[in-house]
């Protein structure tokens, strides 16, 4: 779990799952739903995440916030402390 439900932030919850599933809800789903999904998918791809359930509650976060929260959630979920920042 990572993030908050404050305005301009998002909460990311991760659970084990055999396939990859991303469920997004957002206060700005209509305007930016597609973009949010794109940012999340790209971030997960770059981190080579292949499975897990990602539940995202977005409160109008900027792309960079979304990216950072997803990255942290993945690191916490995988208990990984070292990250190859150059790849991201």
């Amino acid at each position: 779990m990572c993030g908050t439900l404050e305005s301009n932030d998002l909460l990311v919850k991760v659970e084990p799952r055999s396939e990859l599933e991303v469920v997004i809800s957002s206060v700005v789903m209509r305007q930016f739903g597609v973009r949010i999904r794109q940012v999340v998918d790209e971030t997960l791809q770059r981190m080579e995440v292949t499975h897990g359930l990602f539940v995202i509650e977005d409160k109008g976060a900027l792309d960079c916030t979304i990216q950072a929260r997803v990255q942290t959630a993945v690191m916490r979920a995988s208990e990984c402390e070292e990250l190859d920042w150059s790849v991201l």
């Binding site: 908050t4 439900l5 909460l11 659970e15 809800s25 539940v55 509650e57």
Partner: protein, 355 residues
């Protein structure tokens, strides 16, 4: 009021500030429920202005003092509760609230499961919880006209349960048997499930399912496992039955639910009575499910009851159990409870689900 309330955790009984939480809840017409293990409270200038209680995986007794409503405090409070719950190894949470507040909690990542109109809503903190469960049931769906269901705690599995399953199976094309999975009974879930499987082995047109949080659990039917008060509230049984009708029955195409009549436990009797109302009569989401009640199976003129078997078990009187339980149950009880175990509590485990 400052903008930065401080969040703390508090165990109500051990804390001098329990009274403060109690009066905050009282202002919203709530009281501290007995099964709450820990509270998250928000303090502003030293005063408690919001609280949320945690009972296992159930969030309840959530309130915010009047002047603080409409701020972002609710979301922060719910975030804190989820963090606390996660530390306590519960990531999947349920929440009880009044129907009017459901929208507020939807903004905090909770999703509606069922509503007892005018009384209460049950929500969960995942968009995929009940969906996943129904997806797991789907492969067991049978194409036939009369699809029956039986929900048993089988604590332990008796000849009464066996009789009910046999009768129900005869009355329909396929029977789904659910074993209550909440581990709050004298006999552990794994053992109960084994007994049911062994007792029904070789029977065709029957599927034995593991129970779930959505079926007579501390989440859907909290009153049931808090036994000492034995309070029978108006909507305590409704939530569980509504979820069964709205999600579980459609996933398996269930048309009938079978129960054994309940001569002993008042709460179980009430559950059976309400079943007719919520599953069959009430205009609710999901097709009506026909409820069929069979008289309790009797041996020597006495209704067979699991609680009677537990009393015998506590005394180690296996000989007397012989006429009440299937062979498989008896041998399993003999193996698992070789000596008298007074710790087996008969009273607190009067189980429902049918008998």
């Amino acid at each position: 009021m400052s903008n930065e309330p401080i969040f703390e955790t508090m165990i109500p009984r051990r804390n001098a500030r329990g009274a403060e939480v109690r009066s905050l809840l009282a202002a919203s017409g709530l009281e501290i429920e007995k099964d709450i293990q820990i509270f998250v409270v928000a303090c502003d200038a030293g005063r408690i202005v919001a609280c949320a209680g945690l009972a296992g995986e159930v969030v309840k007794c959530v309130t915010i003092a009047e002047p603080y409503r409409g701020s972002a405090l609710a979301c922060r409070l719910m975030c804190e509760v989820q963090m606390l719950a996660m530390k306590r190894r519960h990531s999947h949470l349920f929440l009880y609230t009044k129907p009017g507040n459901a929208v507020l909690f939807e903004g905090c990542g909770f999703h509606m499961l069922a509503e007892v109109k005018g009384h209460a809503c049950l929500m969960e903190n995942t968009p995929v919880g009940i969906r996943d469960y129904c997806d797991k049931l789907q492969p067991f769906r049978q194409t036939a006209q009369r699809i029956g269901s039986v929900v048993i705690n089988a604590n332990p599995f008796t000849l009464g349960h066996l009789h009910l399953v046999r009768e129900a199976r005869r009355a329909c094309d396929w029977l789904h048997v659910f074993v209550v999975s909440e581990n709050a009974s004298a006999i552990a879930y794994a053992e109960r499930l084994d007994m049911v499987r062994a007792g029904l082995a070789g029977m065709d047109r029957v599927t034995v399912h593991r129970g779930s949080r959505y079926l007579i659990s501390k989440a859907t039917f909290p009153g049931y496992f808090i036994k000492d008060s034995c309070v029978v509230e108006a909507c305590s049984t409704a939530m569980d039955l509504l979820i069964f009708r709205k999600y579980i029955a459609p996933a398996l195409g269930i048309t009938h639910r079978f129960v054994g009549s309940e001569p002993f436990c008042r709460l179980t009797a009430k559950y059976n009575e309400d079943m007719l109302d919520w599953l069959e009569t009430a205009a609710e989401e999901g097709a009506p499910i026909q409820v069929v009640e069979y008289p309790r199976f009797e041996v020597d003129g006495r209704a067979v009851s699991a609680s009677e078997v537990r009393r015998l078990l506590a005394r180690g009187d296996f000989a007397a159990m012989d006429s009440l339980v299937p062979v498989a149950t008896l041998s399993q009880l003999r193996a698992s409870y070789p000596r008298v175990r007074p710790a087996v509590d008969c009273r607190a485990t009067e189980l429902i689900g049918v008998m």
